[in-house]
């Protein structure tokens, strides 16, 4: 329970600070939030090795879950760092407190979702992760795009939740229980249960934005404030992906052939469609939205094998993806704040005016594309290896060929920054300290996670218990 408890403490502290802090003290809101979040990360960085369950196995714990929670917390810390230059703006200054409380509530929801041992618990946690998220997406409520994105998000979230609840009710009807452990023993793969499995996919598929549940993604990503988009694309997606793996491996273990078939097609569709749509995007946020759809497909390669190697490589992939994607969003964000520009053509000639940002963006994109010596290469290789070891040869080859498409569109951005001439490049500016710190953190991840094998080895130590 340690991650949840310390997170609740952080939420309460920030909430009361928001209530009671007046005048000058409010200037310390941002540093306080960062420090508290950093403390939260540090407290939870070493997982306890014993598996246990609480509240009549409503809440379950294996060490791997704690690692994922820490990864998500690191992602949230980076997001909070990047949010600073946006939050101090005139529109949002007075509602900083709400931002932190909402953001951390969704994180709390994800933590419970990861550790859920019962479908009811899981559903409540999922809603806790979804509903405040809609507020965050619509946080710039005076901006038309943001409000529209919030509405789209909540409508599709509710629809997919409804479908999932329907699936869960079918499971309950056929097995008579909602507890994960009992259900695994009673599932037999009847047609109704297969139906339930498909409905169940829609709920988490929505959060992971797998094709065909991805239709909200581009609009919500584009409309939401950029930091929230970063959060959506990394933390929210990562937690849901891990949860999906836990539930498939634990609950649906008797129906492994069925869910592998479903996942097989979902992966191919996500990777291919995400990639093909990303090629045509001009808006950087839409572009990263489609790239994140295809990345979600790659993440699922770690699930489909259903082995320990897959679990390790999935968590490692999430960590690496977090570093690279948040770096990219951080740069998009800081450029948007300083120049108001979001189109790929606006990035033309960026290297001449802001060489450091352009260079960091290049590294982040190379890592996303899976190019060595950056961490993305290692995480992609390992996740391919995991799927390959279980005999999904064709799937791996299709995914590999798709990396070429993804390389093409990542290189388009690099080309814009380095090669394309521009009459009116983005003016030179200095980014703020928080953003710099967040980018340093992300770059440390991009450069070191692959070369230094200790992180992977550390994760591997805990890849048991599911």
């Amino acid at each position: 329970m340690r991650p949840e408890l310390s997170l609740i403490a952080v939420i309460l502290l920030l909430f009361f600070f928001d209530l009671f802090a007046k005048g000058k003290a409010r200037d310390y809101f941002q540093p306080l939030a960062c420090v508290l979040m950093a403390v939260h990360v540090l407290v939870n960085v070493v997982p306890s090795r014993e598996a246990f369950s609480l509240f009549g196995s409503m809440y379950q714990y294996v060490p791997m879950m704690s690692i994922v929670k820490t990864v998500m917390a690191i992602g949230t810390l980076v997001v909070i760092l990047q949010a600073s230059n946006w939050l101090v703006g005139d529109d949002t200054r007075h509602k900083q407190g709400e931002f932190y409380v909402l953001l951390l509530s969704t994180l709390l929801g994800m933590n419970f979702m990861i550790s859920a041992g019962n479908f009811l618990m899981f559903f409540i946690a999922l809603e806790l992760a979804s509903v405040p998220m809609a507020c965050l997406v619509a946080f710039d409520k005076y901006k038309h795009h943001s409000a529209e994105a919030g509405a789209k998000y909540i409508l599709s979230a509710l629809f997919s939740s409804g479908l999932m609840l329907y699936g869960i009710s079918m499971l309950y009807g056929t097995t008579g229980t909602l507890y994960f452990d009992d259900m695994a023993a009673r599932l037999s793969g009847t047609p109704l249960q297969v139906m339930a499995l498909v409905f169940f996919f829609s709920g988490l598929g929505f959060k992971i934005s797998l094709v065909p549940f991805h239709l909200w993604t581009a609009d919500a990503y584009q409309g939401a404030p950029t930091t929230v988009t970063g959060y959506l694309s990394v933390v929210s997606k990562g937690a849901a992906a891990f949860t999906l793996m836990v539930i498939l491996m634990k609950v649906f273990a008797p129906m492994v052939a069925e869910w592998q078939t479903v996942l097989f097609w979902l992966i191919i569709a996500s990777i291919t469609i995400g990639n093909l749509f990303a090629i045509r995007q001009q808006n950087m946020k839409r572009f990263l939205a489609f790239s994140s759809i295809s990345q979600a497909g790659y993440v699922m390669l770690g699930v489909i094998g259903g082995n320990a190697m897959g679990m390790t490589s999935l968590v490692f992939y999430l960590l690496v993806y977090l570093a690279a994607n948040l770096a990219a969003f951080g740069i998009v964000n800081v450029i948007e704040r300083n120049s108001g520009k979001l189109d790929m053509d606006d990035y033309n000639g960026l290297y001449r005016t802001n060489p450091k940002l352009a260079f960091l963006m290049t590294l982040a994109l190379f890592s996303l594309a899976g190019i060595p010596p950056f961490a993305g290469f290692f995480s992609k290789f390992f996740i391919f290896m995991a799927a390959f070891s279980e005999g999904f040869h064709l799937l791996v080859v299709i995914a590999l060929l798709n990396t070429i498409i993804s390389l093409y569109y990542y290189l388009r951005v690099v080309k814009a920054m380095y090669i394309n001439p521009s009459d009116a490049p983005i003016a030179t500016f200095r980014s703020d300290g928080y953003t710099r710190l967040s980018l340093v953190l992300c770059m440390a991840g991009v450069l070191l996670l692959g070369i230094a094998s200790s992180v992977y080895d550390g994760i591997h130590l805990f890849s048991f218990g599911l």
């Binding site: 060595p372 290469f377 390992f382 060929l401 070429i404 992977y456």
Partner: protein, 495 residues
Amino acid sequence: MNILSLFVLVPLLMLLGLWLSKSINQIRGVMVAGSTALLGLAVALVFMYLGERASGNTAEMLFMADYVWYAPLNIHYTIGVDGISVAMLLLSAIIVFTGTFASWRLQPLTKEYFLWFCLLSLGVFGFFICIDLFTMFMFYEVALIPMYLLIGVWGSGRKEYSAMKLTLMLMGASALLLAGILGIYFGSGATTMNILEIAALHNIPFEQQCIWFPLTFIGFGVLGALFPFHTWSPDGHASAPTAVSMLHAGVLMKLGGYGCFRVAMYLMPEAAQELSWIFIILTTISVVYGAFSACVQKDLKYINAYSSVSHCGLVLFAILMMNSTASTGAILQMLSHGLMTALFFALIGMIYGRTHTRDIRELNGLMRIMPFLAVGYVIAGLANLGLPGLSGFIAEMTIFNGAFMNDDVFHRTVTIIACTSIVITAVYILRVVGKILYGTCTNEHHLKLTDATWDERLAVIFLVVAVAGLGLAPFWISDMIHESVLPIVSHLALN
């Protein structure tokens, strides 16, 4: 520390040095110091290697070292060299050294240029010292990606198109290669990715070999300009800046041949035997088609690029002949082609830098205007068409000799067809030399041009000496290669 790791460490230090340097002189200092150190290392390695062999060390790989990297996945950083890799390391060091001087006056963004240049050489050196499949593949990709920016930013002509085409084709090939590597690893059931151990286990089922061998061979073969996947090469070479063309044709394309030999054929010998006829036909087409294409080009770089397709095709052709003579010839051809193509591209770059055209219709009588460069060009041309005494003759002679040793009709027919490329090569080389160097200069602007500067002379002389050295005294290096080819060839012959 193992001497081989220095080949990776020195480029890393160069990257660091470049990152810290502020002025053009510091950048040049770092590059000269680094590339000289690499060259020194490579020469020292040759002597150490020969010394070890002379003292009776018969291990397949020397100077081995093994560090566990990702223990749960059996990924190691395993290094070691045999005669083939030593020769390739020497070649790479020479090209990097001369490439530094060939881009002495490069503008703009000099620092960034050399940063990517160093990253590329890091990948190349790492690739040749590694014998672990994963680490090898990683270095392979490290060597590929800098090409995009090197061509895209500093190139000429249709640089954006060429850079993207080259990157996507090569990365597409490496995707196939990755599948092949995973297939080899899981198919062999090995608990290691070490090439030697997988070869010693020798238990990849034949049906699986028939899937993974073509993937691996094509994966590497694309980089070795295997027909019909060679189309990135002419465009890429034509658009790349001088030193990048040198490094690319001189070294990077050799990664392909080396990989086909060391990974695809060594680890999957049965499939290599079974499927070699397909690739022999493709490489024969490469050889002849490349030579014919070179005949009709008007751009100097395109001529040379198609000539590279032809010569690199010959490398793959030779290793598919699967005997020790032809394989030795293949490695010699890699060396020889690397040196003479680098020389060619260096000279073309220098001529282009002065005349601002590479169109052979606009160039005349350069022999009088820039005699040093012109003589260099003639020497490179003669080496290319296989004049005895220069490196090309040795390599091609050995290859065709070896190829003819296969006494069945199919092998002999393709050998005879491939042999015609020698004649065609002579046609296009002599045509260009006659056209641009001799006669009278009709362009008034060209009359005022100057001959090579000291840095250019250094690069050219160095390469000419290497080409002539390999041609006049091939025995010591060909002996070294021959005894290293034997384990691989005997592995192939077992079946």
